[in-house]
């Protein structure tokens, strides 16, 4: 794989990591979500 191809894949992975990290961090900012009691 040429370097540009490698860089495109790296950027794609970086974007996915950014989205996952952003979702995780937003969860920290908003605090624990209340869990409805079972039953």
């Amino acid at each position: 794989m040429t370097r540009p191809g490698w860089l495109v894949v790296a950027i794609a992975i970086a974007i996915i990591i950014g989205i996952v990290a952003g979702s995780w961090f937003f969860g920290i900012l908003t605090g624990p979500t209340p869990v409805a009691p079972l039953g």
């Binding site: 540009p4 974007i15 990591i17 950014g18």
Partner: protein
């Protein structure tokens, strides 16, 4: 396998790493804005906190810092992306611009999602559908031009073309070697101009070279001059003059 956008032959590793970091940061920030907006829309689309008045609708926990961090972080990581992209070369300098469609398409999705099916029921919310359509258009239309814009940064004549686009002056009298982006690591440097006349000497001694290529290029030019002399295309005197010009050229003098 060849796809994507060419990078400069010697793109600095630092720029490559920083470009990946910037892409991660921008995705992180767009996600924060996307989720923060969803939280606010979930309470009706507007909220307020603080101040002397009692707010009719306070903001969901975490939505305010998420939006602030997302918006300002996007600007910061975008700047980093432009800088690193210029170092990588080619159209990579435009990578942060993709955050624009990324942001507006995701926010437009939020508007349309809540416009067509608001969580509080009641059917159709025109107040969300209209901005949703506008946001999707704002995000999608630039994408149609992205491919054409990418081509603007490619090809051997990309430097002069892009310079002309921005109204920058052409380098009068001097030929221009295309550089990959305007970045400290990719500056175009120009040896002192030869006082000798003639196209052969101009080609050999006066053409600018990139900083990274300077030493290898000097050897190549000396060899080429020697070949020309052996072939009888230039005299010994012309050879010595051109050789002295090459060897006495000051080391990198930046044009920028």
């Amino acid at each position: 396998m060849q796809f994507g956008v060419p990078v400069a032959p010697r793109a600095p590793t630092r720029s490559l790493v920083l470009l990946v970091v910037a892409a991660t940061g921008m995705a992180f920030c767009v996600t924060l804005v996307f989720l923060g907006m969803r939280a606010v829309m979930g309470v009706g689309g507007s909220c307020a906190d603080g101040g002397p008045y009692v707010s009719a609708q306070s903001c969901p926990d975490g939505s305010t810092p998420a939006l602030l961090l997302g918006i300002y972080g996007l600007l910061g990581f975008g700047g980093l992306g432009f800088w690193a992209g210029a170092g990588v070369g080619g159209a990579w300098v435009g990578l942060p611009l993709l955050a624009w469609p990324g942001l507006f398409l995701s926010l437009g999705f939020n508007f349309l999602r809540f416009g067509f099916a608001p969580p509080w029921g009641g059917g159709f919310e025109w107040g969300f559908v209209v901005p949703g359509i506008l946001f999707v258009a704002m995000g999608a239309i630039p994408l149609l031009f992205a491919r054409k814009s990418r081509r603007e940064f490619e090809g051997d004549d990309a430097g002069p073309r892009v310079a002309a686009t921005f109204g920058l002056p052409a380098t009068g009298g001097q030929s221009v070697k295309v550089s990959y982006g305007w970045h400290p690591d990719n500056r175009v440097v120009t040896p002192a101009r030869s006082s000798a006349s003639g196209s052969l000497l101009s080609m050999a001694a006066a053409a600018p070279v990139a900083r990274d290529d300077l030493h290898g290029d000097l050897v190549d030019r000396l060899e080429r001059l020697a070949q020309l002399r052996r072939a009888g295309d230039i005299t010994n005197e012309q050879f010595e003059t051109a050789k002295a010009t090459l060897l006495s050229s000051p080391l990198p003098r930046s044009d920028t």
